[in-house]
């Protein structure tokens, strides 16, 4: 079973509900080590995506992803705007010309998107950023290339959960949380938590 264009569309639209529901939880995480607006910003971005996406509903997967990326770039702001925007814009390049995505295609797409985020934000492993969640997700999907889609995505969600957990004991070395030094230890990274929410929502849209 492949991931269809309709499922991708449904996923991106569903994200607007996910981030509306999770806005306060994300804000609470961000208040601990940032400035308390991550939830609001992600919610604003995905509400815009939900407004924009119907105008390209019948277009290919690459167009859906690129529209999402451009919309996030121009509506989220902060560090999350360019980082999540870049993820979807790069992911779109990997999906060019594809009608549906196999697990291997999805793995490639997440990998390409992750590389885009790393190149824009210059994150390294254990910096306590969203990349500490993107990397394990990407690896999990690559390892699951021969498994059915739902099992591969379950593995990716599990990897995302562990990725978020792994950021808790880390000291931030990038972004605003890095100014807290050791005081950034003990809290999950808000951007990484948003990655987990994206993956959970993908799972729900199967």
């Amino acid at each position: 079973m492949n991931l269809t264009q309709q499922q991708i569309y449904h996923w991106l639209i569903q994200c607007s509900q996910t981030f509306a529901q999770e806005q306060n939880n994300l804000t609470e995480l961000d208040t601990a080590i940032g400035d308390g607006d991550h939830g609001l910003n992600m919610n604003r971005g995905f509400q815009k995506v939900a407004e924009k996406l119907p105008s390209v509903e019948d277009k290919d997967i690459a167009t859906l992803l690129k529209t999402t990326g451009m919309t996030l770039l121009s509506s989220v702001g902060g560090a999350s705007g360019p980082l999540f925007g870049t993820f979807f814009i790069k992911a779109a390049q990997s999906a060019a010309g594809k009608e549906a995505l196999s697990v291997a295609d999805l793995a490639e797409l997440i990998k390409t998107g992750t590389e885009g985020v790393v190149s824009r934000g210059k994150a390294e492993p254990n910096d306590k950023t969203m990349c500490d969640v993107w990397w394990p997700v990407s690896t999990a999907l690559e390892n699951a290339a021969s498994q059915p889609l739902n099992e591969a995505i379950s593995a990716a969600v599990e990897a995302a959960k562990q990725g978020v957990e792994s950021t808790i004991p880390m000291q931030a070395r990038k972004g605003r949380a890095s100014y807290l030094g050791e005081r950034s230890i003990g809290h999950a990274d808000p951007g990484g938590t948003s990655v987990l929410l994206l993956m959970k929502t993908l799972q729900q849209s199967l």
Partner: protein, 356 residues
């Protein structure tokens, strides 16, 4: 939380509308949001653009006008504006001499401004960038996002703004920007957290006998929590940190117009030393009474005198705030004849005005 707001979603829009209503020489563009002076673009002058999250008023929109900025992009509360805002604002203020973007070193600002610079370059606009990183609370840039850009931004906007009026080219402004940034040192302390409206409660709790030392301008805690006793002790600790943490090496990325790429430049700040001349800024982080700011200035003057710094000019007031954070920052900018001459040039903006 009791604040003079209607809906959290409408705050920024209402602030911007109020600002242009009070200062009709500014023009507000909606979707994307940016503000420009009605005279922009000014013929034969490089356009100056800055921006950042809202909540730092009067920075940046309050500094649009003669001798300072041509345009500013306010983001959401404490959130960087987006590349499309910066791109359209830059195009609206470009007279053909190019646009200089003054960027505070915060990850979000840097990522969005860098994206905007690339897009503007591709669209044929001459664009250059100057990064501000004056906050000495951050000691190294290896394990952090580097020193934050805070209140020295105000002094730099004034000095670079005067230079642009005097006909400095884009490259000359970049050089002056590096110099002014490398000569500026800031440090902030908080006695009480601010309340970000979306969060609805103070960002952290502080007992009466403690302060957050080395805070930025986004309501986050500082680099450490210290005990608080009184004014003199606090200012003395701030001054000592400004002096001790002067030497700072890091690599700054700068847009290379010739080769269409980012170039990394090693930059070094030298510590302040006896005999230096400075502009001193005592800045309100939001909820500190002017009386306390003047008392801080009084003590700062003593510290400078004892150390051997000459305060050539000063500013005391609300210039680079963090909503309603109770606290103060001190900025010392080492000046030479060139920068002091530019400082004294006329300025006419909503928040800074002299000699006109």
């Amino acid at each position: 939380m009791k604040k003079l707001i209607n809906r959290v979603e409408d705050i920024i829009s209402e602030v911007n509308q109020g600002l242009v209503a009070a200062h009709p020489e500014l023009r507000l563009n909606i979707d994307p949001t940016y503000l420009v002076h009605k005279d922009a673009p000014i013929k034969n002058k490089v356009g100056l653009l800055s921006g950042g999250g809202s909540g730092h008023e009067p920075m940046h929109s309050g500094y649009i006008g003669l001798g300072m900025l041509d345009g500013a992009c306010p983001g959401e509360m404490f959130t960087s504006p987006t590349p499309d805002q910066m791109m359209e604002c830059a195009m609206a203020i470009d007279s053909g001499e190019g646009v200089l973007m003054i960027i505070k070193n915060y990850t979000g600002d840097v990522l969005n401004f860098e994206t905007a610079a690339e897009l503007l370059h591709d669209a044929g606009t001459q664009v250059a960038t100057v990064l501000v990183d004056d906050d000495v609370a951050v000691k190294d840039s290896l394990y952090t996002a580097g020193r934050r850009g805070v209140a020295n931004t105000v002094l730099m906007e004034k000095i670079l703004g005067a230079a642009a009026v005097k006909g400095y080219t884009l490259d000359q402004l970049v050089e002056l920007g590096h110099k002014t940034n490398n000569n500026g040192y800031s440090l902030g302390v908080a006695l009480h957290a601010c309340t970000v409206p979306a969060a609805g409660k103070p960002s952290f709790e502080l007992p009466d006998n403690e302060m957050e030392f080395g805070v930025g301008i986004h309501g986050e805690p500082g680099i450490e929590r210290r005990s608080f006793s009184n004014l003199n002790n606090t200012v003395d600790q701030m001054f000592q940190t400004l002096i001790d943490n002067g030497h700072y090496e890091r690599v700054i990325r700068q847009w290379d117009r010739q080769n269409s790429c980012w170039q990394e430049h090693k930059q070094i700040k030298q510590p302040l030393k006896k005999g230096d001349r400075v502009i001193a800024l005592v800045n309100n982080l939001g909820a500190t009474p002017l009386s306390e700011l003047y008392a801080v200035y009084h003590r700062l003057q003593t510290c400078c005198h004892q150390f051997g710094l000459t305060i050539e000019r000063n500013l005391v007031g609300s210039y680079c705030t963090a909503l309603d954070m109770q606290g103060v920052s001190i900025t010392l900018l080492k000046v030479d004849d060139e920068t002091l001459m530019l400082w004294d040039e006329p300025v006419n903006t909503p928040a800074l005005r002299w000699k006109c």
